[in-house]
Amino acid sequence: MTAVLAASEVLKQLETRFPGAVTASTDTVITVDSKSLLPVMMYLKTAPGLDFSYLTTITAIDYFQYFEIVYFLVSMEHNHTLTIKTRAYGRDDPKVPSVASLWRSADHQEREIYDLMGVTFEGHPNMKRIVLWPEFKGHPQRKDFLK
């Protein structure tokens, strides 16, 4: 059974190394400030005992005030998993750093979020629409389209 890593353990390590990076946490989820996202992710990927070499899923949720980006990390070596979240503020041009340089599985998934949610991933090698056509206006997965 894939063990869901207790966030408190990882939290201690993160707080000593990256003070102020963690903005919130629950039992299983750690929310990281988007400015320190890349170094934190780099650490999670390479730190012995964590070894999150496998990024399965990235998704985004529109909460009106902010967009929440969710990352599901898995370590095949230790068979454990951790959920990391970060936030992108603003509706005109929300931005978070891209993790495609760490895990290439982020490549298509970040493009999809950009396409449907309109969150730009800075540093992504090919940030353009993926399922809709280039001339499309707007981002249909946003909550702007209320009945």
């Binding site: 070499s53 899923t57 599985s105 399922v131 809709l132």
Partner: protein, 367 residues
């Protein structure tokens, strides 16, 4: 006089028999060699994730059928597991067994199509494909007996399955298992060391272990590289921890290995079906679930080993009758990240074969 050559762009698809749906590869060629390739998605994008936000939790089940439309049962299962996790619903024992039987039969049916169409891409036109369809018919007949449908079953529900299996199902299942075993042996004799297959598929489209992990590959594509990673074993859901089965892996991650992994997986699925059919208990097939499920505020992520790979459903609830957000982690979509690297430097016909060996379904890639 020197001859000047320049690369030219070839559009493969979106409507082309080898793209298995409406997928487009924008290939840049130098002679016959691929020097660049850009996959183009979106011709079958229906906004299914958005549609989920306007439907009740139960009302979304028929739409999950339409993701990977050749493996509806496993899609249903993944989604129902996520809803059950979110709302804290306990599934009756009998329903769990029925689900496992259906999911594994579905894996056989889906792999039969994958392998059959893979042989089409190899150039063994339609003889193996129609053999595979003969056997798939056996499985589809069983599904029809239970659900009344032959492609999109809409069978599972949050809390169980829509209806109990009829009395004649188990005898028919046992008969089908015996026949499928014979058929599988027949394929092995016919295809395993087939000359066409050896010439076309061995050493072609190699995916390394390191790259497979990097691009987040899953399912047969990941296992063909030799990594033993199957959600049914790594993170057992439903009642998979009660069955004995092996995880077949490949050696070097080429097209031939991906075909082998699928064939071996079908045999393992048959083993699971046999065990489940022997132990199926009596009892209700659906938990007492209200017509309108209102899960508490929160989120849940459930994932299963679908025929194509790690299929995940992420649901966020705001306490209402419809999900606030539903994200589908489509294995085919993520697997395709590797396509460009795997075909660079190969010829066009190898690219077609490599793409075919992913066994993607566009319904799942585009959603």
């Amino acid at each position: 006089m020197t001859l000047k050559t320049e690369p030219f762009v070839l559009n493969i698809g979106p409507v082309h028999p080898s793209t298995h749906g409406v997928f487009r590869m924008r290939a840049t060629l130098d002679g016959e060699v691929i020097v660049d390739l850009e996959p183009v998605f979106g011709y079958l994008h229906r906004g299914i994730e958005k549609l989920a936000e306007e439907r009740t939790y139960t009302g979304f089940v028929p739409l999950t059928d339409r993701l990977d439309y050749v493996s509806s049962m496993t899609n249903n299962m993944g989604y129902c597991l996520a809803v059950e996790k979110l709302a804290g619903i306990k599934v009756p024992e009998r329903a769990e067994y029925i689900r496992v039987i259906m999911a594994e039969l579905q894996r056989i049916a889906a792999h039969l199509i994958s392998v059959g169409s893979f042989f089409n891409d190899c150039g063994a036109y339609f003889t193996p494909f129609l053999y595979m369809f003969r056997e798939r018919e056996r499985v589809v007949d069983l599904f029809e007996m239970v659900t009344g449908q032959r492609l999109l079953y809409n069978y599972m529900r949050p809390g169980g399955v829509s209806q109990d299996i009829p009395d004649e199902f188990l005898p028919a299942l046992n008969e089908a298992i015996d026949q499928l075993k014979k058929y599988f042996d027949e394929y092995e004799r016919l295809l395993k060391e087939n000359e066409i297959l050896y010439a076309r598929a061995r050493g072609v489209g190699i995916l390394t272990k390191q790259m497979a992990i990097e691009i987040g590959a899953s399912g047969p594509v990941l296992r063909s590289t030799g990594i033993k990673w199957d959600i049914r074993k790594a993170d057992p859901y439903s009642i998979y921890d009660r069955f004995e089965f092996d995880i077949p892996v490949g050696e070097q991650g080429d097209c031939y290995d991906r075909y082998r992994v699928r064939v071996e997986e079908m045999k393992q699925s048959l083993r699971i079906v046999e065990q489940a059919a022997g132990k199926i208990p009596a009892g209700p097939v659906r938990a007492d679930v209200p017509a309108l499920i209102r899960p508490p505020v929160g989120e849940a992520y459930a994932h299963i080993e679908a025929p194509t790979g790690d299929l995940g459903f992420y649901l966020v609830s705001d306490g209402g009758i419809a999900p606030y957000r539903c994200h589908i982690r489509a294995p085919s979509f993520v697997n395709l990240t590797a396509l460009r690297d795997m075909v660079l430097g190969w010829k066009v016909q190898d690219a077609i074969l490599t793409f075919g060996s992913f066994a993607i379904t566009m319904g799942e890639v585009d959603r």
